[in-house]
Amino acid sequence: MFAATCLALLAIMAIALVRAFMGPSVYDRILAVNMFGTKTVLFLAAFGFLTGRPDFLDIALVYALINFIGIIAVLRFVETVTHTGTGADD
């Protein structure tokens, strides 16, 4: 049961990676990374249940925190770079 969920989550992460590589604008890539991070949190929780190790959930919680901070940091970075026009491709 958990194995099926883990496989499905891996498939979602693969599709998000395809969108990251294909994404025309930088914001598509940020969206794909955001989806990847969220699904990693779910994958960690499901994998923790699969292998019977409850401490994976702490890692999942920390990952959710850091993913959010990372997305906001990248957005702030992209906004300032394109603002000052130092050649961020868009």
């Binding site: 599709i15 969108r19 294909m22 914001y27 699904k39 779910l42 929780a45 997305i71 957005l75």
Partner: protein, 117 residues
């Protein structure tokens, strides 16, 4: 009782996986950035709810359930906020929304809808 919990968590987990995959395919296929963000972030909350709900049913009343609820609560707060910040930044930087369907093969079949302003 155990069987009911197993069946319920099976349904929840598979439903969550299904919604996640449809959202990911939506992110892949939609023509324009804003519809992709919508497809991608809509599933974040629903897919997380169903998968973590399925896991909670398996964990029962233990500390693990508390951690799962914390993870779910945090995902529910941050992923919409991150998507909002993403769309606001994109809009601020002038990413053009595609309002009319692109003039490719499909636009012939939907001629009526695209003529409206």
């Amino acid at each position: 009782m155990e069987l009911i919990l197993d069946v319920l968590s099976w349904i929840l987990l598979m439903g969550g996986a299904f919604f996640g995959i449809t959202g990911a395919i939506g992110t892949l296929r939609f023509p324009d950035f804003y519809s992709r963000v919508h497809a991608g972030s809509v599933t974040d909350t629903l897919c997380a709810l169903m998968i973590i709900g399925g896991l909670i049913l398996q964990a029962g009343f233990t500390l693990v359930t508390v951690k799962l609820i914390m993870v779910l609560a945090f995902l529910w707060y941050t992923s919409p906020a991150a998507s909002h910040a993403l769309v606001r930044a994109a809009h601020h930087m002038g990413v053009p929304p595609v309002l009319l369907p692109k003039p490719d093969a499909r636009s012939k079949t939907r001629e009526g809808s695209s003529s409206k302003p």
